[in-house]
């Protein structure tokens, strides 16, 4: 059985004493302790669209129901110029609501609900995104 782990470390000096948190999740099939077995692989793509909707150039991060619940999405905006922002939107829902925004250098890790298609557009053409989906194919 494969073992996949995700560890988060958060350190901050916002408070008067240092905040330090570390947590690890083992990625398993839903409601079991059996490890996930599939991944869409680590991808690096250029986003060339500066709008959501019908314009071309958005990058599809995940297609609805491609994986059984729950697929884990790792995403990173690898640009270094502040303001080169990536917007992630829900392409399955009317109005394509925006859900996440990643400025230069930002990353996110999201155990997704799995039934929505997520796409990305950016404020600048091109903007490079790195992403990976891990989970259980179906």
């Amino acid at each position: 059985m494969a073992t996949t782990t995700a560890t988060l470390t958060l350190i901050s000096d916002i408070l008067t004493d240092t905040l330090s948190l570390s947590t690890t999740a083992t990625l398993t099939k839903t409601t079991t302790s059996t490890g996930i077995e599939d991944t869409a692989g680590l991808s690096r793509k250029k986003i060339t669209s500066t709008a959501k909707g019908t314009a071309s150039g958005q990058v599809t991060l995940y297609t609805a129901d491609d994986f059984a619940a729950i697929p884990y999405l790792y995403i990173k905006n690898i640009e270094t110029t502040a303001g080169y922002r990536i917007y992630v939107y829900d392409d399955s829902t009317s109005g394509d609501p925006l859900q996440f925004q990643l400025d230069a250098g930002d990353w996110g890790f999201i155990p997704m609900h799995g039934d929505k298609t997520y796409k990305a557009y950016a404020t600048n053409d091109p903007t490079t995104v790195e992403f990976m989906v891990l989970g259980q194919d179906q």
Partner: protein, 140 residues
């Protein structure tokens, strides 16, 4: 300037060679690499089943600002889970032991971040590093 650093390490042996991805970021105010987020909220809540609760209220002050949210389901039963929604649209499902770190988009003031528990009462730990919040004037 406050410094908040978030790092992730992803490791797996599901490929024929080891997979290891790690990265970190300093949590900055929107549109800058020179000024870190300087406000935060945090909490630990017991979430009963049957109702969707607002975990974080979106405000007009947060629209298009940087909001980094960490949520961890501290439930120990692997069948317990919560569904996280933004403006009533599901974005994530956290089973016991799972966590998320999201750059929450406050596209408008309706983009509340909500949580609903399933199977049983779930224990949730959360933090939000953000900017631009002004406390409301007391009404009484």
């Amino acid at each position: 300037m406050a410094t908040t650093k978030a790092a992730i390490q992803l490791s797996s042996d599901l490929l024929s060679d080891s997979l290891s991805v790690s990265t970190d970021t300093k949590c900055m105010k929107a549109g800058t690499t020179a000024d870190g987020l300087d406000q935060m909220r945090m909490g630990y809540n017991e979430i009963p089943t049957g109702t969707s609760f607002d975990l974080l209220d979106a405000t007009t002050a947060a629209v298009d600002k940087a909001n980094k949210v960490y949520i961890c389901n501290n439930s120990t039963d692997e069948t317990y889970y919560v569904i996280i929604t933004i403006d009533a649209k599901p974005i994530g499902r956290l089973y016991g032991g799972d966590w998320m770190f999201i750059p929450w988009n406050c596209d408008d003031a309706t983009h509340d971040l909500e949580v609903q528990a399933y199977t049983g009462t779930n224990d949730i730990m959360w933090m939000c590093f953000h900017e631009g919040e002004t406390l409301g004037t007391s009404a009484d």
